[in-house]
């Protein structure tokens, strides 16, 4: 039953994604300045927005774990952070490819790029420390704290890279200056929805694995004790 729901969710996400890609590739005209390549934005930005959503969920569940010590919250935290980090990577790579084409360079220390890269590094720390802690309760508590610390850093990073005396060669944040034409808005929103559905399905799969892993741990303890 649970597995079917996950597959259904993933399938729904894939269908929405295919529908959206059809709109993006076949219906939308080329953009005046960039030609065809602007279409990357329909996967690039939804990835970033969904990563933010999953990281925020991870923050909430990390706090809930510390408050309740219920392991279900911890498994949501780790699943959301893994999927979120994957999406940030997706965002960085697609952005870099777009930048190579439009700006002629793979990487510019643009405000948004820098902040996304730092999010990636922060949560990489979480993913690295987690397997290094052997005892399950300790692992869950400590990594929840790391998740909270990492999230608290995001507003500071945003503040720091806006400091006027920080020298960044940035071609201007894209979304803060430009207005989006109305015909792009719908595919944009649907793109966010599609990645959200797929991401949620992945989170659910990962959560189930985490539950099985805990079952394995307890069986092992049982065997050792006997």
């Amino acid at each position: 039953m649970r597995e079917k729901a996950v597959y259904l969710l993933g399938l729904l996400g894939a269908l929405v994604m295919i529908f959206n890609l059809n709109t993006v590739f076949n219906k939308l005209p080329d953009e005046a300045m960039q030609g065809a390549v602007y279409r990357i934005i329909f996967i690039h930005v939804p990835a970033a927005i969904n990563a933010d959503i999953f990281y925020t969920v991870a923050l909430i569940t990390a706090i809930l774990f510390l408050a309740t010590k219920n392991f279900i919250w911890d498994s949501i935290t780790v699943s959301c952070i893994e999927v979120g980090t994957m999406l940030i990577l997706l965002n960085l790579v697609t952005g870099s490819i777009w930048g190579r084409n439009q700006w002629g360079i793979w990487w510019a220390w643009d405000l948004r790029m820098t902040s996304q890269l730092m999010c990636f590094l922060l949560y990489l720390g979480y993913l690295l420390i987690r397997p290094a802690i052997a005892e399950p309760t300790q692992r869950a508590s400590l990594s929840s704290i790391v998740a909270i610390f990492a999230y608290a850093d995001i507003p500071l990073v945003l503040m720091a890279i806006r400091l006027p005396n920080v020298r960044t060669q940035h071609p201007g944040p894209v979304l803060e200056t430009g207005q989006m034409a109305p015909m792009f808005k719908a595919p944009f929103g649907i793109g966010i929805l599609a990645l959200f559905l797929i991401g949620t399905a992945l989170v659910l799969v990962r959560m189930h694995q985490e539950t099985s892993q805990r079952e394995i741990d307890s069986l092992r303890r049982e065997l050792h004790a006997a």
Binding site: A36, V37, I97, R100, L219, L223
Partner: protein
């Protein structure tokens, strides 16, 4: 339509799909490993209870 733009559009989307596929594949392989381990441990526990 500028041809290089199309090339980079292709690169961008392929990179995206590769990342997602790689993540899904790593999930699947981890899931298999966990399932196998769980089955092995369960049979071990059952054997021990029988004997």
């Amino acid at each position: 339509m500028d041809i290089t733009n199309l090339t980079f559009l292709f690169y961008g989307y392929s990179a995206g799909w590769i990342i997602i596929t790689a993540f899904v594949l790593s999930l699947v392989s981890r899931g298999r490993r966990i399932d196998r381990e769980l089955a092995r441990l369960k049979s071990l526990v059952e054997d021990r209870e029988k004997s």
